[in-house]
């Protein structure tokens, strides 16, 4: 017995395997986290290239660069790649890296499944990307894949459906893993109400994923059988209902947008206290608000469909329920502001991104409130106003906080400090250009420009050109981010970072008690949780 234990201990500090096999077969949460993040970054540039094509065609009126059908493929694929290939995997990457380190666990609860969910993601996204080269082109009916239009897709339809299935399985497995880890692997003394907000937001996100990914898979399966096996789920001529699809889709789709925003909230709640040198204000209120937002996300889906012709009772219900979301979201924004209040703030890159997130996400929240009012939505719906709205809640929110998280944790992961001067340059370029890009789209929508059009009437020309210029600057700035990340991984600024990295960070989370760079295996024996208030 004791011999076995000794032998085990001898192998305790083994590092990773060498070469490509390390990455193919790894079950280490840090390696898998890295894989997710690298993949997400690659897809961010793929989806970003598509956005650049869109903005280049919209640079001026008239059709200059691409055929309308290809333009529609670009808007569709841009959304699918960004949602399923970039934003969601990036947050799963953070979850893999940070949740075990934040709760004092040695690894994720289900390491082999962890590996499988990553590689299924890659398979799913590659299948989706392959449709770009198929006869009939990639799906071009918008990421919502509304029938009957989506049934006019060429050979790509079954591949897109299968890709959604794989992405769904991957997400569900990832979510199960996260829930199992959080419920079973917390260090002694790490009670639920002591967990960092990032862990809390991911716990709730994981439940959302498990609840809605199967719904999406079901919806696209019905598309598949309508398209190839003569069913009529969504075909009125066969007794089906095209609007039914929209209900099912948005029952998935609305929680899906919170799947992208809740971990964003988690990262912000992690970063802001560190740089304000104050504990997070209203920890329990933050947890309750997150749960409330998640709950509301299940009962508001039809606000995406105010123009399909609903009974007025339904319309009023969905309007009131949607307006309620403003309350827990407001609580979050007030709490972040109160966290900064009377702090001793410094403005390193992660904090700059976090402050920009709070401000710009609030703008997205305001337009969300405006659109919740259904009579107003009759005007806003399917115009550039909504395009501006959801990009404000995704780009300067999710993308900004993913990059903030990268700046915040990279020194811990690599042991190298990023170049602060370049980081701030990246921030200012991004924060300014993102507003040049998306703010004018509010005006375009209010002036009457529909979304998803490759060409427009000449009165929309000026704001479109400004928006496109913003897009090119924003897109170009992200190459700087790529450069900073690569440089940090290689050698950074050259100075050795401390274990804490950020001043007094130890007060804010277990991960900062570990050495920098973090060893391959951490918390093989559970850490002692200091019995203070929440951390």
């Amino acid at each position: 017995m004791s011999a076995v234990v000794t032998e085990h201990d001898d192998h305790h500090d083994h590092g990773p395997e060498k070469g490509i096999l390390r990455w193919l077969f790894t079950t280490n949460h840090k390696d898998i986290g890295t894989l997710y993040l690298v993949f997400a970054l690659a897809m961010f540039f793929v989806g970003g290239t598509m956005a650049m094509i869109i903005r280049a065609e919209l640079f001026q009126p008239g059709m200059q660069l691409v055929e309308p059908q290809f333009f529609n493929s670009m808007t569709t694929m841009h959304a699918l790649v960004m949602v399923f290939g970039a934003v969601m995997p990036a947050f799963v990457g953070f979850a893999n890296w940070m949740i075990p380190m934040m709760i004092g666990a040695p690894d994720m609860a289900l390491p082999r499944m962890n590996n499988m969910s990553f590689w299924l993601l890659v398979a799913g996204v590659l299948i989706l990307a392959s449709t770009l080269f198929m006869e009939g082109g990639a799906p071009a009916s918008g990421w919502t894949l509304y029938p009957p239009l989506v049934l006019q897709t060429g050979n790509a339809l079954p591949f897109a459906v299968f890709s959604v299935h794989l992405l769904g399985i991957s997400s569900i497995m990832g979510a199960i893993n996260i829930i199992a880890t959080i419920f079973n692997m917390r260090a002694p003394g790490m009670t639920l109400m002591k967990m960092p907000l990032f862990v809390w937001t991911w716990l709730i996100t994981a439940f959302l994923l498990i609840a809605v990914m199967p719904v999406f898979a079901g919806a696209v399966t019905m598309l598949l059988t309508d398209g190839f096996f003569d069913t009529s789920f969504f075909d009125a001529a066969g007794g089906g209902d095209p609007v039914l699809y929209q209900h099912i889709f948005w029952f998935f789709g609305h929680p899906e947008v919170y799947i992208m925003i809740l971990p964003t909230f988690g990262v912000a709640s992690t970063i802001i206290p560190v740089f304000a040198r104050k504990p997070l204000f209203g920890y329990s209120a933050m947890v309750v608000a997150t749960v409330a937002i998640a709950f509301l996300s299940f009962i508001v889906w039809s606000h995406h469909m105010f123009t399909v012709g609903m009974p007025k009772a339904g319309e009023l219900y969905f309007m009131y329920a949607t307006m309620l979301i403003a309350i827990p979201t407001g609580v979050k924004i007030f709490n972040w502001t109160a966290t900064m209040w009377k702090g001793a703030m410094t403005f390193e890159t992660p904090m700059l991104f976090s402050i920009a997130f709070v401000v710009l996400f609030t703008l997205g929240g305001f337009t969300g409130l405006m659109m919740a009012l259904s009579p107003l939505d009759y005007q806003y719906h399917d115009t550039y106003f909504i395009v501006a709205h959801f990009h404000y809640t995704l780009v300067p929110a999710s993308i900004f906080m993913i990059q903030a998280g990268a700046y915040y944790w990279l020194p811990k992961w690599t042991g190298h400090m990023y170049d602060e001067r370049l980081g701030r340059l990246h921030f200012w370029l991004s924060a300014i250009s993102v507003n040049i890009l998306f703010f004018p789209q509010h005006f375009l929508g209010l002036a009457g420009m529909p979304r998803r059009i490759p060409d427009y009437a000449v009165q929309f020309a000026d704001w479109n050109m400004i928006s496109s210029i913003g897009a090119f600057i924003y897109g170009g700035s992200q190459l700087l981010f790529l450069y900073i990340v690569i440089k940090t991984i290689k050698q950074g600024t050259g100075e050795k970072v401390s274990d804490e990295v950020w001043e007094d960070a130890k007060k804010h989370g277990l991960e900062w008690t570990l050495p920098s760079p973090v060893p391959y295996h951490t918390f093989t024996t559970p850490p002692k949780i200091i019995p203070t208030e929440h951390i």
Binding site: M63, G136, Y146, E315, K342, V359, I453, D462, M465
Partner: protein, 385 residues
């Protein structure tokens, strides 16, 4: 050079906030031309100002804090971390604001839903990619396509500057004509995929869904030409099926109605090829069919099969020496009547004359010279088969 100047102007505008003399930098929703659109505008402005006010309060506090509570100014961090009282206050205040917003919004929902006492009804059907208008209990019934000038300019690489086209992409061959001061009920449906009918000046849009009939209503206050677009992605030419609504004084409208279809389009005195009633009710000559066919082709087919008939490799088959277009004529007609995959069925969306014309045209132009032709009467016969 024009492009370069545009770019420079845009940059200058961003830098100095100037308004250029010719540019159209619309910032806000319009008030529209109905009571409802005015009420929607008022609610929009009111909610916008509430948001601006909340924004100033929250961002004001945040920026005050960012300025004063910074380490570089030697500010010591306080260590408070929560207050149930404060959390309750900032949950209740927004709730009250929401209730105040919900009241006028609810009133508007109920008002917009009430189609009772309508004086006339127009059925609107969305097709890929045109609108069909049928006046219930009246004679007019027609399709409304993107106008020829916009259609020509919007082809990829047309080389035509859209700025030289009046109402580029917002003009149709035949507009919807309605009277003012009349409660008009609209019924919406679609023939293929989902479309959405939007004229911003009316204050609303409504989806046109195959198998469904949606309702909406309006009373237009002043005469004018009001323009809008399809707002639900409906395929590749989604951007190219505008809505043009001509609102006339009641007596002018009655006049238009009495003379329909001779002056099919009141505001378009030059008429279109269709309203000239070419070879209606009799045998057409091949020349007549070819002339009509060319327009039908450019309005309905050219966006996929390309103006020269070369198609788009891998996506849209070429017309030129296509086995279908140069093969048996019945098979071509059959395919066009039924549609196939991305290609919509044309059994209802074009007239029999147009149908015969475009069949004849494709077989004898675009690099084909089959030599045969088909009469509208034969199309009628094949349709009933």
């Amino acid at each position: 050079m024009i492009k370069a100047r545009q770019v420079l102007t845009s940059i200058a505008l961003m830098a100095f906030g100037l308004r250029s003399a010719y540019a159209d930098y619309t910032l806000n929703l319009g008030k529209g031309v109905t009571q409802q659109s005015g009420e929607i505008y008022d609610l929009h402005m009111w909610v916008l100002w509430v948001c601006v006010f909340i924004g100033i309060a929250v961002f004001g506090a945040m920026f005050y804090s960012i300025y004063h509570h910074r380490k570089s100014k030697g500010h010591e961090a306080a260590q408070f971390h929560g207050s149930t009282k404060v959390e309750i206050i900032w949950s209740i205040i927004p709730f009250v604001i929401l209730v105040v917003m919900a009241v006028p919004a609810t009133k508007l929902v109920l008002e917009l839903d009430d189609v009772q006492d309508s004086e006339m009804t127009i059925k609107v059907t969305g097709w890929q990619w045109k609108w069909q208008y049928e006046y219930i209990d009246e004679e007019p019934s027609f399709f409304s396509n993107l106008d020829a000038a916009s259609n020509e300019a919007r082809q990829v690489g047309s080389g035509i500057d859209p700025r030289t086209i009046p109402n580029y992409l917002l003009e149709v061959d035949k507009p919807l004509v309605v009277p003012i001061d009349t409660k008009i009920r609209f019924l919406f449906t679609a023939g293929d995929v989902i479309h959405s009918w939007w004229v911003p000046d009316l204050g609303w849009k409504k989806d046109a869904i195959p198998g469904f009939i949606n309702e909406a209503w309006t009373i237009i206050d002043k005469p004018g030409v009001y323009r809008g677009q399809c707002t639900e992605l409906c395929g590749q030419d989604h951007a190219f099926m505008p809505v043009v609504l001509v609102a006339l004084e009641k007596d002018e409208y009655d006049d238009w109605l009495d003379n329909y279809p001779e002056n099919g389009a009141a505001s378009y005195p030059e008429g279109t090829w269709e309203s000239k009633a070419v070879c209606a009710g009799s045998e057409c000559t091949k020349d007549e069919l070819m002339t009509i066919g060319e327009t039908v082709y450019s309005n309905n087919c050219a966006s996929c099969h390309m103006p020269g008939g070369e198609g788009l490799e891998g996506t849209f088959p070429a017309m030129t020496v296509s086995p279908i277009v140069t093969g048996e004529i019945e098979k071509q007609i059959d395919l066009m009547l039924k549609g196939k995959e991305m290609m919509p069925a044309f059994n209802q969306s074009i007239t029999d004359v147009e149908f015969a014309a475009v069949v004849t045209y494709t077989r004898n132009a675009l690099g084909n010279s089959v030599g045969d032709m088909v009469q509208p009467s034969e199309i009628v016969a094949l349709k009933s088969k």
